[in-house]
Structures are given as C-alpha cells and as structure tokens.
Amino acid sequence: MRLRNSPNGYGLITIGMHWIVAVAVFGLFGLGLWMRGLDYYSPWYQTAPDIHKSVGLLLLGLMLLRVLWRLYSPAPHVLPTHGRATRLATRFGHAALYLALFGVMIAGYLISTAEGRPIPVFGWFEVPALITSIPRQEDIAGLLHEYLAWALVILSGLHALAALKHHFIDRDATLVRMLGRERN
C-alpha cells in the first residue's frame, strides 16, 4: 500500500494517523472521566493523570504532523456522488473536529502548566510551560477542557454516524476509503 494519498484513495500514513487519533480521543475521554472520580488512596490516583497528560501531548504532536502531512499529501478527490450540501457539511464537520481537537489539547496543557511547571511525557522528555499569567488560568482552562472534550466526542460520534450513513444508506466508498480501499 502507498504511503502517500493519491487522487483516488488515502495512503497508509493518513489512514494510520486517522485511526490512532480516533482511538486516542475516545481512550483519553474515558480515562479523563474515570480518573476524576478516583479515590485519593487509589493506586491510579497519580498514574492515571500522568498517562492522560502524556498521551494527550503525544497526540498534540501527532496532530501537528497530521496537519503538515495534509498539506504535503492532499486528500483524494471528493466522491462524485457527494453533492454540494454533503461537501459543505463535510468541510464544516472536519473543521470543527480539528478545532475541537486542538482546543481540548491546548486547554489541557494550560491546566497543568498554569503554575509554570513542565509536563513530563512518560518520563521521556518534558514539555515546558509557556503561558502562566492568566488569572485563575487552571480553572478557566479546566472548564474549556471539559466542554471541548464533550464537544469533541459528540462531533466524533456524528462523524462516525455520517460515515456509517455513507456506507449503509448511500452505499458509497466514504468509509472503505478510510480503511484502505481505492476507488475503482
């Protein structure tokens, strides 16, 4: 399979990044919800947030690469069966997903770094604090992080429903293209 996208289909790199992001988003959402309710004496009390932050920052790095890759290797042509409304909805939907993704990750970063501390990523390296002087930064960023996380999973759910609609109702190649099939 090709690494780059072609006019007729997605390449391995785009497909791989798409599904890694999908798994990471739902994994981080579940982990985030679960860890907030942890008892102070739980063995996960410190490790769960460490994993959440480490994976979140790696995901931020991956998303930056994904945007660069998208510029370097443009997406395939839209399917000819997609009408004007579908194309417009797709465009808005994808833009909203990207915005929510970057928003939720930046907000999360601004919580943990609000006091100027760096965030260690699995002990491999640290991401330094950049913005620390906003009044009650951790509270504002925390609220944004929560709302954006919900927005992101709801948008992702709609995104998945739309893909299933294309597959089962419209019977077009939208979903299978993201599974590696090329348009014949």
Binding site: I111, S112, A114, E115, R136, E138, D139
Partner: protein
C-alpha cells in the same frame, strides 16, 4: 430600676473608655506583611502548606485592655495557593472550597480572653464554604511600636484547628488529614 440604669451607664462608660483607648489597625496587605496560611498533613508523613493570597482585615487593640479588642478578616477563597495548579484547581472546586458559590470566608471576633502575657484566646465566628461555626484562635502579640516611616504597627500570630467536615468538606484525604491548621500571621498599621 435605678440600680440597673446606673449599672448600664457604668458599663456604657467602660465600653466607651475601652473604645477610646483601643486603637484601630488595618492589616497591612498593601505592603504584604500579613499572611493567611494553612497546613494539613499529607498521609501523616509531612506538612502541606498553603496560603490565601488575597484578603483584608482590621483589628482594634489596646495592650492595657486586650479584652476590648476586635478582629475582622475577609478572605478571597479563590486566591488559595499551594504552588501546584492542579491541586489549587481541585481545592477551588466543589469537593473543597466551592469558591464559585462561596467566594469569601470571614472571621469576626466575638470575645477576647487574655491567657497570659502577650497571649489571648480570640473567640469568633468563622464562615467557610458557606458554613458559620464558632472557633477559638490562640493568638500571641509578636510586637508593637513605631516603624521607621512615621507609622505605628502591631503584629500578631494566631492559629486554630478546623475539622474539614465541620465546614462541609467531605473529600476523604485519609485519617491523618481530617483537620487543617489555619494560621493568621498579620501586621496592622495603626490608623
């Protein structure tokens, strides 16, 4: 009747005299010579110290008549700071200080009892997390006198121990951390 009136007059005079003698001080938050700190055990192994960065207060004090004194302090609970952003966020939330619902905590004295040279028990009402309870602060006069800039200052330190669940904080931090020591260390500038 007459006796009561005379007694009341006498008491009134004594109160007036007390007020006339006791000087009013404003707690020096402007020059930051005042601290509202707290400490709580971490797992029974160490002390965690924190502070409220924003507060204001005043007291009246007369060394000859400590019983005539008064103290009032108002604390901005959202200014809690333990030098750890995630913990501070947690402390402001609904498991601890509920700062959105209860943005201020106050202490207002109701009685002062001298307990020795330079020490006193200050009884008063503490409102924290929306709950008002009487507490006793054991206080010590650290010093008073003229400052080098033409003013007059007096400094006190006092502390009291609060049970977290008395003030509606029910988050379980372990058996060693069921109460917190509140420490007020303040300098007042005489008005």
């Amino acid at each position: 009747m007459l006796k009561k009136t005379i007694a009341a007059l006498g008491l009134g005079t004594a109160l007036l005299a007390g007020q006339a003698l006791a000087a009013d001080y404003v707690i020096d938050t402007k020059g930051q010579h005042a601290f509202v700190n707290f400490k709580i055990s971490h797992l029974g192994y160490s002390w965690l110290y924190g502070t409220f960065r924003d507060f204001e207060g005043s007291f009246s004090f007369d060394a000859q008549q400590p019983e005539s004194g008064k103290v009032k302090v108002t604390i901005d609970t959202a200014s809690v700071d333990t030098n750890h952003a995630e913990r501070d966020k947690h402390l402001r939330g609904d498991e601890f200080l509920n700062v959105d619902d209860h943005p201020t905590a106050t202490f207002e004295s109701t009685a002062i009892e001298s307990t020795g040279e330079n020490t006193a028990d200050i009884t008063g009402n503490l409102t924290l997390n929306g709950i008002t309870k009487p507490v006793v602060i054991s206080a010590r006069l650290l010093g008073e006198g003229k400052d080098p800039w033409g003013g007059y200052r007096a400094g006190f330190e006092g502390s009291t121990t609060l049970r977290l669940d008395d003030f509606g904080i029910t988050r379980d931090l372990g058996p060693a951390a069921e109460s917190v020591e509140l420490i007020l260390s303040v300098e007042g500038v005489r008005q």
